[in-house]
Each structure stands twice: as structure tokens, then as C-alpha cells.
């Protein structure tokens, strides 16, 4: 069973790192941390959805909808209401997509969500009067362009995502979500309103990714469709959650840190665009070597260490008796 201390670890980690980086104020590290935090939020959101058996390849749709909603609504209704609009529009899109894909299982669900993300990009280009077309759009700049405040705000959003993920791993939701994933009929036969719960997970996930996308768009105050609606933002959350360890909160966090670190190392050692190939190969090796992700590996190590101390204690006891 988890102790209170390990439960608090992610919160303490995020708070300390964010505050430390804001204090030190080194641009490279702040940009890196912002990148890690945004991908970590999308990975947590993807994981929340996958706990109900919905393996999505459509994260990019919500990422893009988030940034575009903020950009489109800010001149019309002001900044505060534009952020509310991000939540509402993403929730509506999640409900719609969730209802449409309700009966699809596994692979078919993944393909349908991927199709949704791809068609969103086309939609943006087709309606240039609203969206600026392929030329892009200018969302309001986050925190007046001060990177330290940007990191602070995105750090807060990450904390919220972590708290949501933890709540959904509690007794109220985790068993019901897992039952829906393994055998939805069994969940329904236990009184769980399966459709409501699946849509609920979809809304939580979609809104989180949308808010992350809106933050991303606000980093420089300028986005083009190929920035946010790319397959990259659909695959990255899945890769990070799988790499870090699914069905956990700490997994997507660790996954985001490791993946970003790998990317930076590969970029500085190899450089050019060739680094992406090496980086991809390393991810594949990681996934093959750690099917349960980093969290699974740590658990195994923890068990081994536990067994060692247990046998050590037994030995001591035997010596004492002798």
C-alpha cells in the first residue's frame, strides 16, 4: 500500500523544482521545464482516459482546440472568459467525440480519434476567416511574456492535473474505471453508469489537454496549425505514459522528464535532424526493456531490495538465536 509520503512526492517535486527554477532564472532550464510540464499534463490526461479503456490518438485535436479557442475568443469576450471558453469548448468537443466513439473498441477507437485530430487540422485551414488558415493565429501572450511567470502558471496547471489524476486513482473511481476497461458489462452489473463515466473521463482528459494547448499557444503568442494539430501531440502523450508507467500519476511525470532529457541529450550530442532518429530508437528500446514502464522497473527494484533486507533480518534473527 502507498504511504502518505510517496503520495505527496509528486506535489513536493513539482513545487520545489518550479520555485527553484524561478529563483535561479536560467532561460534554458526554464524553457526545458515548461516543455516537460506541458507534455506531462498531456500525458496525465491521456492516461486518465486510458484507464477507462479508451486508448486515444486524438490528443492533438484538444491541444489545438485549446490554443485556437483562446486565440479566437480573447478579442471577443476578454481574457478571463476566453479561458472559460477553452474549458467549455474542450468539454463539448470531448462529449461529442466520446459519444460518437462510444461503441468502438481498442484499435477502432484509436483510429477514430486519430481521424478527428487530422480533420481538425483540415477544418482550420478550410475556414481561414475564423482561424487565420495555414498562416496561423495569435493567442494572448501568457503572463506578459515573462518566462518565470509562465513556468509558474504552467506548474500550477500541472499540480491541478496531478491532483485530478490522484483523485481518479482513489477508491471512488479507480476500481470502476478498471472494471469498465476490462469488462464494461460487469461494471454495469455493479451499478456503474458506464456511458456517463466514460464521457466524464473524456471531458476531464480533453479539458486538461486543451488548457495545456492554450498555455503552449500563449508562450510566444503565435501558433500555426502544424504546430499544435500535428500527430506529434497525439503520439507523445501515449509514448510518455507508456514509458513512465500507465495507471499511475508519477509514471507520466517521470516519463516526461526522461523523454525530454533524452531529447536534449540526443540534440546536443548528435545535432541536426538526425537526433530524432536516435531518440526514436532509444524510446523503442526503453519500451521493449520495460514493459511496465519506469514505475514498473522501480517497483521491481523496490521488491528486490525489500526481499534482500527481509532475508538479511532473518539471517540476523537466526544468528541471534544461535
Amino acid at each position: 500500500m502507498k504511504t502518505g509520503l510517496t503520495r505527496l512526492l509528486p506535489y513536493v517535486l513539482i513545487l520545489l523544482v518550479t520555485l527553484a527554477l524561478v529563483w535561479i532564472d536560467k532561460p534554458f532550464w526554464i524553457q526545458l521545464a515548461i516543455g516537460v510540464a506541458i507534455t506531462a499534463i498531456t500525458a496525465l490526461a491521456w492516461d486518465i482516459l486510458s484507464r477507462t479503456g479508451q486508448v486515444s490518438l486524438g490528443s492533438a485535436a484538444f491541444f489545438g482546440i485549446g490554443s485556437y479557442t483562446l486565440a479566437i475568443f480573447e478579442p471577443l469576450i476578454g481574457l478571463t472568459l476566453a479561458w472559460v471558453a477553452v474549458v467549455v469548448v474542450c468539454a463539448l468537443a470531448a462529449t461529442l467525440l466520446g459519444l460518437l466513439t462510444l461503441r468502438l473498441r481498442r484499435m477502432y477507437f484509436a483510429i477514430a480519434t486519430l481521424g478527428f485530430a487530422l480533420s481538425m487540422q483540415v477544418l482550420v485551414v478550410v475556414f481561414p476567416d475564423w482561424t487565420g488558415g495555414s498562416g496561423g493565429i495569435a493567442p494572448p501572450v501568457l503572463a506578459d511574456g515573462d518566462p518565470r511567470w509562465q513556468l509558474g502558471l504552467i506548474g500550477l496547471l500541472l499540480l491541478a492535473a496531478v491532483a485530478l489524476s490522484d483523485t481518479l486513482l482513489g477508491l471512488r473511481f479507480r476500481p470502476a474505471f478498471f472494471m469498465i476497461r476490462t469488462k464494461p458489462e460487469l461494471a454495469a452489473a455493479s451499478g456503474v453508469p458506464v456511458v456517463h463515466m466514460k464521457i466524464f473521463a473524456f471531458i476531464v482528459s480533453g479539458v486538461l489537454i486543451g488548457l495545456a494547448g492554450a498555455c503552449y499557444g500563449g508562450l510566444y503568442g503565435y501558433v500555426v496549425p502544424t504546430d499544435v494539430f500535428t500527430t506529434n501531440w497525439s503520439v507523445l502523450p501515449l509514448a510518455i505514459a507508456t514509458l513512465g508507467g500507465m495507471d499511475t500519476t508519477i509514471g507520466p511525470l517521470l516519463g516526461a522528464i526522461v523523454l525530454k532529457a533524452l531529447e536534449e541529450v540526443a540534440r546536443s550530442v548528435i545535432g541536426g535532424t538526425g537526433y530524432q532518429v536516435v531518440y526514436g530508437a532509444v524510446i523503442i528500446l526503453f519500451v521493449i526493456g520495460m514493459p511496465q514502464g519506469i514505475v514498473g522497473l522501480l517497483r521491481k527494484a523496490g521488491k528486490l531490495a525489500g526481499r534482500r533486507t527481509a532475508t538479511g533480518e532473518k539471517k540476523k534473527e537466526r544468528e541471534r538465536h544461535a
Binding site: 477508491l171 472494471m179 476490462t182 469488462k183 454495469a188 452489473a189 455493479s190 451499478g191 495507471d247
Partner: protein, 260 residues
């Protein structure tokens, strides 16, 4: 006249609703052109253990899946304690007081026994004071012989324990009526005797039970009444002794040549 207060809850509700806890009228269920149930009418008496038997493909499982809300109804009416539940969602039917078990219980292997039982306790929304002594997950697990396995992962349980867990999960829905879908299939003789004891204990809590079963030994020892389906129609109903002596039932089960 007996004092009503001394009766078990199910018997009391039976008196109120005129004896039937579940009534099915002219129920028709079809897959494409094939009628799996063809105008079946029957009623399940409150407070009793009813056996539901019939050859393979006779419509037993279809009947259970339909009354529990998992299959769409083409025609007819299903009522639980007098209230219409035709076409209702499965989770609503559980909340109305009818729980079911699955033949092959596929529970998430990474959940503990405690966590599985927490789902109906949290979501079935039933009054737990109705079943004194079965108010929480630990009590239900102990009642079903799962006490020592309370914190174990489902992936580590034996087939027999998974069957027990499936009954425990249904029991955690605090049902008035429990439908058991082949709870004994694939168990050894000793294990099936134990599960039969458990079913009897569940019945003593005042819960009405319907058992789908192939083993005649189970039907004759446990059931007050038996309902026989054949080709999606009602073939016979009555006490185990009269039904099993029935010529039509013997023919349906054994074929015409053997029955005489």
C-alpha cells in the same frame, strides 16, 4: 395469522406484491431473424430459489441477459416487484434490486477483492440496512469465504475463489433478486458443494434466487421450483420432481428415442 414482522424482508415484499418478484410477459428477443426468446411468459416467486434449465441454445442465457438489461427487447414486458423495468439500462436495473453474476467472471487482475466489492457498494446505491451483517466489503467477503483473501489481487485468485468473488460482488449490490449464471460450471465436486452452501446462506438472507444450471443434482437439492425453456419457449414449470418426470422435458433433454 402470522406476525408480518417475524418474516424475512423478501417474504414480506412477496406478500405485498402478490408473490411474484420478477414477472416476464410475452417476452420476445431476436438476433436478426432468429428468435432467441419467442413470447415467453413466466413469473419468479419471491423468497424462493428457482431453477432455470433447458438444453443448449434454449434461451436461458438470453433470458438472464435480457431481464438484466443487457440485451434489447423486441416485444413484451419485464417487471420487477410490480415495477416496469423493460428496456432499462443495466445499472438502473441493479439499483432497482436485481443483480446477476457472470459465468466467466473477468475482473481486472490489478484490483484487490476489497476494491472489486467497493464498486457495487459505491455505485449500486442500495439500502444496506436491509441485509444486516452484509453492510461493508469486509463482511461480504467473510460471508462468501473470501475473508483471508480480502487484500489479494484478483489475478492471484483460483477459479473457485473467482466464482465466490462473483457471488460476493452481486451480493454487494444488496439485491432483492439474484440471478446466478452457471455458478457451478467447471468446479470440482467439493467446491460445488461449498458454493451450494453459500447459495443457501444467501437465500437465508431473504434474497430470492434464480439459478441457471446444467447439473440436475444442484437443481434437485437447492430449488423450490423449476422453469424449463426449449427453443426460446417455455416448456414446463413446477416443482423439481414433477418437472423432471415430465415426458416433454425428458424428450427435450435426451431426445425422443431415449425418453420412452
Amino acid at each position: 395469522m402470522r406476525d408480518t414482522a417475524s418474516l424475512s424482508p423478501a417474504r414480506r415484499s412477496a406478500q405485498q406484491s402478490g408473490g411474484a418478484i420478477l414477472a416476464v410477459e410475452d417476452l420476445t428477443v431476436a438476433f436478426g431473424g432468429l428468435k432467441a426468446l419467442d413470447g415467453v411468459s413466466l413469473s419468479i416467486a419471491a423468497g424462493e430459489i428457482t431453477g432455470l434449465i433447458g438444453p443448449n441454445g434454449s434461451g436461458k442465457s438470453t433470458l438472464v441477459n435480457t431481464v438484466s438489461g443487457q440485451l434489447p427487447v423486441r416485444g413484451g414486458r419485464i417487471s420487477l416487484r410490480g415495477g416496469d423495468v423493460t428496456g432499462r439500462r443495466p445499472d438502473r436495473i441493479v439499483r432497482a434490486g436485481m443483480a446477476r453474476t457472470y459465468q466467466i467472471p473477468r475482473v481486472p487482475p490489478t484490483l484487490t477483492v476489497e476494491e472489486v466489492l467497493s464498486v457495487p457498494l459505491l455505485y449500486a446505491g442500495r439500502d444496506r440496512h436491509r441485509l444486516p451483517g452484509l453492510g461493508d466489503a469486509a463482511a461480504i467477503a467473510a460471508f462468501c469465504g473470501l475473508g483471508p483473501l480480502f487484500r489479494r489481487y484478483c489475478g492471484d485468485l483460483s477459479v473457485t475463489d473467482l466464482r465466490r468473488l462473483e457471488i460476493a460482488r452481486a451480493l454487494a449490490c444488496a439485491p432483492d433478486l439474484l440471478l446466478l449464471d452457471e455458478a457451478m460450471a467447471g468446479l470440482s465436486h467439493e467446491d460445488s458443494v461449498e458454493v451450494m452452501g453459500l447459495i443457501r446462506n444467501v437465500h437465508e438472507q431473504g434474497i430470492s434466487i434464480v439459478i441457471i444450471e446444467h447439473l440436475m443434482r444442484v437443481i434437485t437439492t437447492l430449488c423450490h421450483r423449476v422453469v424449463v425453456l426449449n427453443n426460446g419457449r417455455l416448456l414446463a414449470e413446477g416443482t423439481p420432481a414433477t418437472v423432471l418426470a415430465d415426458q416433454a422435458v425428458r424428450e427435450a433433454y435426451l431426445g425422443k428415442g431415449f425418453a420412452s
